[in-house]
Subunit: 373 residues, 2 copies
């Protein structure tokens, strides 16, 4: 690594960079190309920021904060106008070209072999040929998204939706209009753009969009500054809050505890902001209670019947090497999985993956055997 060049690009001193190399800047030499990644945020540099051996940097995509109550958040955060885009429910990925090869970087700054293959298949070659300095930030969604499989998007497998652009070595994003223009120019899918609204009308418009998205079990919206000068905010549907709770209570011992609480609190704020009637509020409480208790009961009963607590997902790959590498990638991410025999399909393979939800499995088993909490 050229310390001078890299520290300049990061906007820190060489001494600071050297100290970071001894702490949160971690080497990852597999899959190729080797890189250094920021395991945590530091010195204003997002976690997941990656430095390649050619000294090129891909900054982490900035975390988007959440509006708990929409009206006041809009007034407090934005100027005269806001642009509204769909927030999709999948996993974040940054696509970049390094020495002529496409790599898909996870939020944490690892190269994901599966996402890399998917991206290489989906992206027209000319994207990086013409724009080698661009980083495509987007969401991988669909039923063959192995982290968050969802049937709610128009794909039978997995698809990539662009939501922003970065340039290598630069931390600023290009913003909503340049992103959509870029997507159109290269025939890449982008997250739905719902329009630009004057701030006085934005609350009403976004509430309408949120209710519409909720009915289709979609996640929510990201609200952006049309001029890309202010940080965006996100806001989600009640349906996605409840769906998250269902998953989390199915696997209650494998989720971070504040995952449960934060989603519940959102329901309280939404109910207040929507000024719900007594009946509507009780209906929300009932649905909330069901999204908590029923998956929990289901998990306990499964275990009582001797079943393992697992999640079934599936991927589709062209090359078996990708599948093997993805298996290793999941293992290093701390997941325990069983990859079934690849089934040939078209010009590739479908592979069913069983993800073992170890902690919930073991905890439920021991509680059922009479181990105290």
């Amino acid at each position: 690594m050229n310390l001078q060049k890299v520290s300049d690009r990061l906007g820190i001193t060489q001494e600071r960079l050297e100290r970071l190399q001894e702490s949160i800047l971690k080497r990852s030499s597999w899959p190729e190309p080797p890189l250094m990644r920021f395991e945590k945020s530091s010195s204003g540099i997002e976690s997941g920021t990656v430095i390649f051996e050619n000294n090129e940097i891909v900054f982490g995509y900035p975390k988007i904060r959440r509006a708990m109550i929409l009206g006041p958040s809009l007034r407090r955060h934005f100027g005269d106008r806001v642009a509204v885009e769909e927030k999709m429910n999948g996993y974040n990925i940054r696509l970049a070209s390094v020495n002529g090869e496409v790599v898909a970087l996870t939020r944490g700054g690892f190269i994901c072999p599966y996402s890399t293959e998917v991206a290489s298949r989906l992206l027209p070659n000319e994207v990086f040929e013409k724009n080698p300095e661009f980083v495509l930030c987007g969401e991988m969604v669909g039923p063959e998204n192995p982290y968050v499989p969802k049937d709610i998007y128009p794909t039978d497998t997995i698809d990539f939706y662009l939501f922003d652009l970065l340039k290598k070595n630069r931390r600023s994003t290009l913003g909503i209009y340049k992103t959509h223009q870029f997507a159109e120019e290269y025939g890449i899918k982008a997250t739905a753009f719902f329009g630009e609204f004057r701030i006085e009308r934005a609350y009403e418009k976004i509430m309408g969009i949120i209710k519409h998205l909720g009915k289709r079990n979609r996640e929510g919206v990201v609200i952006k500054d049309p001029d890309n000068k202010l940080a965006p905010l996100k806001y989600t549907t009640s349906e996605t809050n409840r769906h998250d709770l269902e998953i989390a209570f199915s696997y209650y011992n494998d989720y971070a505890i504040d995952f449960f609480l934060s989603r519940t609190i959102r329901e309280g704020f939404q109910s207040v902001e929507w000024n719900e009637s007594e009946d509507k509020r009780k209906e929300r409480a009932k649905l909330l209670g069901e999204s908590i208790l029923l998956p929990l009961v289901d998990t306990i009963q499964k275990k009582m019947n001797g079943e393992q607590i697992v999640q079934q997902v599936q991927i589709r790959v062209k090359s078996l090497k990708t599948a093997r590498e993805f298996e290793y990638h999941l293992r290093r991410s701390g997941m325990r999985t069983i990859f079934e025999e690849p089934e040939p399909n078209d010009d590739g393979y479908i592979i069913k993956i069983t993800r073992l939800i170890m902690s919930t499995n073991d905890k439920t088993q021991s509680l059922l055997e009479g181990e105290p909490w």
Copy 2:
């Protein structure tokens, strides 16, 4: 402190004791008498264990583990028979006589001035005159319990219910029968004893007791080994789980996060163990959802209307000195309170206390102003 004597009584070496003095063994010189308290558990010594200057030790009352699923827990933990006692919902206190003066020790090993005054009023003098080496472990309950005010017990103010006995300098408890015999001998109230059952019949019996207690909004039971050789277990009613959630969601930012999750998970296990019908389970889900959402909404609405998030409690003291000392005691426990003017009543004073729920108050305010989560 006589290091030799104290370390012998604690069952550790003098060197270990000296090291503990530099870490978790904290001095507390107020209210009199001065003492050292174990801030955390260590070397098998419960947190809250207290060493007085005369080298007398009052061990912490051992934490009682919880049965998540009753049937298997009974079979796994107990022998042929179990004894069942009510678990009351108040705060734990240990009463001891030190140099002839009664002191009430909190779980953490502080002397609580209010509980000390209450205990001195309630306990017959002969208890400690005849048994200076005894430590009375019990629950302070009632509407003038300032931590967990409850109207569900037969007192208009506050009352003490004995649930176990310790002896000074000894960590073993005396167990259920000696405790009830002692209570009877001195005319002290003890927690209700529901009977001793053969293990084969215990599940059915306890379920009946739990349902009965639930209807009266009582907390639950502690299941003990009649021979006092095995550790007890506790098991609580659905009503108390939900009531805890109501309080916790009213003050959602002031409770430890796992408080929420643990109570919710209990509902799942109880629903499974009780083999509820679809309808019963949906009813439980609805009640669970309501105990979460409605208090949350209430808190948010209060704040929206400009009210402070507070808890109102009340105490009754004979001496104003006790009230002043209790105010200081609450402050050192990290609570922010406003004590109103004492109102003379009978031969003492009633004092209304407003407890400020600062964190929830501030968090809700800032979220309502549009601060992102």
